[in-house]
């Protein structure tokens, strides 16, 4: 009996020693410095100066109510949440979202949107409330116009909340009503934020110099992080605390929608932006200083914009399959495979020279995936 207890104790101590021996931080000083640039997370809330109801509880309540209510579609058949599914990271599990027709793109996740500079895959808007109007007024999606939307709100159960926040509806121009509704939707979406993950605990432990705590981060994820920061070149575009540089790149995904139509990406996004009355430089912005308007004023249309799309954040990404602007990659494994064997013939000949086939081994691909999943384990 005693012999068995000693045997078990020895086994237990052996296992403990093994685990201590394997728990370590394998990143170089330079890799640690780069890792620190991906935090802290989440960022502090700063109200959007272009939206006078940003951060107001009454606006968040109204925006949330409208987000889940079909009143925002002209025929009452769909709500925002039909494409931005809360159980799917507020993204669409369908490859190409469906409105009145099958649309051209996959509906992006709405989490962590308050830090963006550009909105939508093509950046057709420079603020969240303007972007929120797009599906409501698109004939292929919710199909309202300003007048029908005003009438729908007047008849809805949300009229009291609306008027408590924005004043008498009947005294407002229909376009102002649309913008007010969009601003309450934006106030709600600003609250959709992913939380700290095991990556953040690793990053924060290293910032504190607490190597013992940092060493709890799995070695496979650390190796994946090394690929992400180094040889994979992922951090060139997926930079900063939100893992996005907020700009537009050609990821080698075909932009033919069918045999006769192409998705022009950022090229068309800039055309929409310059035609929009709802930019941060315009009169619908509540920011007298026009503090965010520098981007729309100074953005430079480039020949290489054609077929480029916004770099999405990687936070919460494991919950939002499928991937890319057209939802053509079914899961994260497919994304890694795409970059592993990327077809350089599909990239702009006069575009940027960044992507090259990664040629990762099976284990390296697996490590990269393990790292990526640690950006989404905040709900685990």
């Amino acid at each position: 009996m005693i012999k068995s207890v000693f045997g078990l104790l020895a086994l237990f101590l052996g296992a403990l020693w093994m685990s201590a021996a394997t728990a370590e931080v394998i990143l170089s000083d330079n890799e640690i410095a780069l890792t620190l640039s991906h935090g802290p997370w989440p960022p502090a809330f700063v109200a959007d100066p272009s939206n006078r109801v940003s951060g107001l509880p009454a606006a968040i309540k109204l925006g949330k109510g409208l987000f889940f209510n079909p009143v925002l579609s002209r025929d009452g058949s769909m709500s925002c949440s039909d494409c931005h599914d809360p159980s799917h990271g507020f993204a669409d599990p369908k490859a190409r979202s469906v409105g009145k027709v099958i649309l051209d793109r996959n509906a992006l996740s709405l989490t962590n949107v308050r830090g963006h500079r550009w909105f939508g895959w093509a950046g057709g808007n420079d603020n969240l409330w303007a972007q929120s109007l797009v599906p409501i007024l698109n004939p292929d999606e919710m199909n309202h116009d300003d007048e029908s939307l005003k009438t729908a709100i007047a008849k809805s159960t949300w009229i009291q909340d609306y008027e408590a926040l924005f004043g008498p509806l009947s005294e407002q121009a229909a376009t102002d009503v649309s913008v007010n509704i969009a601003k309450s939707l934006a106030a709600y979406q600003e609250t959709l934020e992913t939380g700290p993950t095991s990556f953040d605990r690793f990053r924060n432990a290293m910032e504190r110099g607490d190597i013992a705590a940092a060493a709890h981060y799995p070695l496979a994820a650390q190796r994946g992080l090394q690929i992400f920061l180094g040889r994979g070149n992922c951090a060139f575009c997926h930079s900063g605390p939100a893992f996005t540089n907020r700009e537009f790149h050609d990821a080698g995904v075909p932009y033919f929608i069918n045999q006769t139509r192409v998705d022009t990406g950022r090229y068309g996004g800039l055309e929409a932006l310059f035609a929009s009355p709802f930019t941060l430089a315009g009169s619908y912005s509540d920011d007298r200083e026009k503090s965010g308007a520098w981007a729309v004023r100074q953005v430079q249309p480039l020949h290489s914009d054609f077929g480029t799309f916004r770099v999405p954040s990687l936070r919460g990404t494991a919950r939002t399959a499928p991937y890319m602007h057209n939802g053509s990659l079914a899961d994260l494994q497919a994304v890694v495979d795409h970059y592993n064997t990327i077809d350089l013939e599909r990239l702009h000949t006069d575009g940027e020279a960044i992507l090259t086939p990664l040629a990762l081994s099976k284990r390296e691909s697996s490590d990269l995936l393990k790292f990526l999943r640690t950006l989404s384990d905040d709900e685990g």
Binding site: S239, R246, E247, W294, Q298, L302
Partner: protein, 134 residues
Amino acid sequence: MKTLATLLSMLCANLWATTALACQSEAEAKPLISTSPGEVSGVAILEPIPLSQPFGLQLLFCGKDATTIKEIKVGAVMPAHQHGMNYTPVVDALGDGRFAVSGMVFHMPGLWAVQIAATGRAMPMYFTLEVHAR
């Protein structure tokens, strides 16, 4: 008459020396690399560069033709990636060969080459400045 010319020449030399000295005395200034022949030199005084966020810099030109520079154009490229910035910076002339540049955005980490074209009375002059964004 000769005395007047001498005095004028001394004054010009002194002015030139003063502006040259201004270039050298700027704290934290980085010298611009001139790719044009001439006697104008320049320095850049950089603000901190947050990745993918707008930042600004000041450019100061020195030398006998520095004050004749009326306009500058600024761009930047990543030589390794073959792309430039997505935004056009705004340039304000502050006088005495000094210019404020705002709205620069380095959206990727790595080496950027800032390219400056200065025009004034004579032929355009070109300068570059290498900056690492992290």
